[in-house]
Symmetry: C2
Subunit: 342 residues, 2 copies
């Protein structure tokens, strides 16, 4: 198979390239593509150096499947034509996620959406994937009726630039960290990616503000679970917060159900479900953290407890590697599903 990675020099693109190799996806020819600015960069694949080429329809000729992570506007600009030309496009951007003709797929949760050999498939938002992987097994057990989500999102969700901005600020503050307990506001380092200081701080803005006061990220965290879980009226209140973590997103979840569900039943549902792993043993200090999830193929779920006084609502905490299970791995799993089933 001829496989392209579009956005091959980005944080997710590199993870896609790595994941294709790790999972021995049957790649006969590997085509790394990116913007003109990154053309000529070298990507390592199957022990060979491969030069990145500029993205164009011509460069995609003969490609069977393209894994795309180059931002929504790039995706919008070429995916419809590429798909019409026969390239199966698996897109990590938000461009097509809410398009009713495009499946929004987490293979462990809604594989049925991938029936019919779709030419465009959207990968859900990384925070959405973390939350939905945790909640889907509980939904099947007890019927989800509402979600309240507060996220703890790592800087790699903003790409290499996000990681660099955090580390530069940490370096600038080195030796003066304790002064942050007192007002030092004029001296605080800031950068273009996060606006506010992200080192030793949290920033309650991920994406741009929309007219209703929610950010674009929060809107995705509300809309996407509805589509993935086929619950078009599910009430979701999402708050997205950036935290000074390199990799791994966390989500604090309050889930309400139409039927009672015990902590034990919830744990059993998680244990039995694909794509998630239970890390929930308070007596032995076992709980999920973003760092523990980094590099894993599954979301970690723990801190499951009943909302006080209720038998139909659970609080829990879930973590997943935002570049891997939250993006690259999910895309490769979709490719595996599509091409194994053809």
């Amino acid at each position: 198979m001829k496989v392209a990675v579009v956005g091959a020099t980005g944080a997710v693109g590199r993870e896609m390239t790595r994941t294709l190799q790790e999972r021995r996806f049957p790649v006969d020819e590997f085509v790394p593509l990116a913007s003109a600015r990154s053309a000529g960069a070298i990507v390592r694949f199957a022990d060979e150096d491969v030069a990145v080429r500029e993205l164009s329809l011509d460069a995609l000729r003969g490609v069977d499947v393209a894994l795309v992570s180059a931002g929504a506007s790039v995706s919008r600009s070429f995916i419809p034509d590429a798909a019409a030309a026969g390239v199966t496009c698996i897109d990590n951007s938000s461009a097509f996620r809410m398009d009713p003709d495009v499946p929004l797929a987490i293979p462990e949760v809604n594989p049925e959406s991938l029936e019919g050999a779709p030419r465009i498939v959207a990968v859900a938002n990384c925070t959405t994937i973390t939350a939905v992987l945790a909640v889907a097994p509980l939904h099947r057990a007890a019927g989800l009726t509402s979600l309240v989500l507060s996220s703890y999102q790592s800087v790699s969700g903003a790409g290499h630039r996000g990681v660099s901005e955090l580390l530069e600020q940490v370096e600038k503050l080195r030796g003066d960290e304790e002064s942050l307990a007192h007002p030092v506001h004029e001296a605080l380092p800031t950068g273009p990616v996060f606006g506010s200081t992200i080192a030793y701080n949290v920033v309650p803005k991920v994406g741009e503000f929309e007219p209703d006061g929610f950010t674009g990220e929060e809107a995705k965290m509300a809309a996407e679970p509805r589509k993935i879980l086929s619950l078009p009226d599910l009430p979701v209140v999402a708050t997205s917060i950036r935290v000074p973590v390199i990799a791994g997103h966390g989500v604090s979840i309050l889930a309400e159900f139409s039927r009672p569900i015990s902590v034990e039943a919830a744990r059993e549902a998680i244990v039995a479900a694909p794509g998630v792993e239970l890390r929930d043993d308070p007596a032995n200090d076992v709980y999920p953290t973003p760092l523990d999830a980094a590099g894993l193929d599954v979301a970690l779920v723990g801190r499951i407890r009943r909302a006080p006084g209720r038998d139909d609502a659970l609080a829990l905490f879930a973590c997943a590697d935002n570049l891997r299970k939250g993006a690259a791995l999910n895309a490769v799993q979709i490719a595996e599903y599509l091409f194994a089933s053809r």
Copy 2:
């Protein structure tokens, strides 16, 4: 007045000492006290070096007011006797907070609890103070009926040791931070305060786990708002998460009300209330962060938006300096209130 600070060498005790001076509390004699281990340490007060003495009832003789931040077991061991001997004890620990005979006071929220010259007054938990300062004005406007809280708590909430543990881990990881995006679990630095790595991570455990799966901190965040707001049946679901921030706690809040409330009305209520400051102008990227709250005497409130499809529920984000407004300042304000009203 003869004023003692008990736990004078701790993070909150030092902040209490600083705050007494900043606010020109009428101190004639300053008595810093601590455990035997810290006795002899020097604390600066009113341009003089004062030696810390070991806590005892004898050392408290003649003291008018003691600001106490030395942990719940120390508080339990001496406060009842000290209060009986005539010392007004303002206690930052959890020891007496839920005692029905002890006021749990945030002076801007429930000053009426301080009537009658109580000899013991409890200062609420730092995360509780942050959340309640933000929610109390909205409760007065629209009648609070439930709270969902997810916290972003700084390491200074665990004292000097918490700050040191974070900074030591940051230093150990220096130069290798990007490797955290891949599994490096055996190499991760850990410490006694947070258990899991706190550098470039978040830890969903603050306090010890209780039988119902909530932590002690989460139990406080549920019980204390009920008492402060005189809403004994208020449903609260709290999730406490430690984040790698030096100072300043954040709380993501979903508040439901018995009456409709608009974003504009909520903003007006915050602007009109004492102890809080509105930082909420999405068009100009104005929102609260913990670092912005560090060193301030108020909680910052922003990101106010209506839960989608509802007119009686608001999401918001609040931040406050956990050592200052969340502890030391609140204690000094209680002392001011008690002694100004005598």
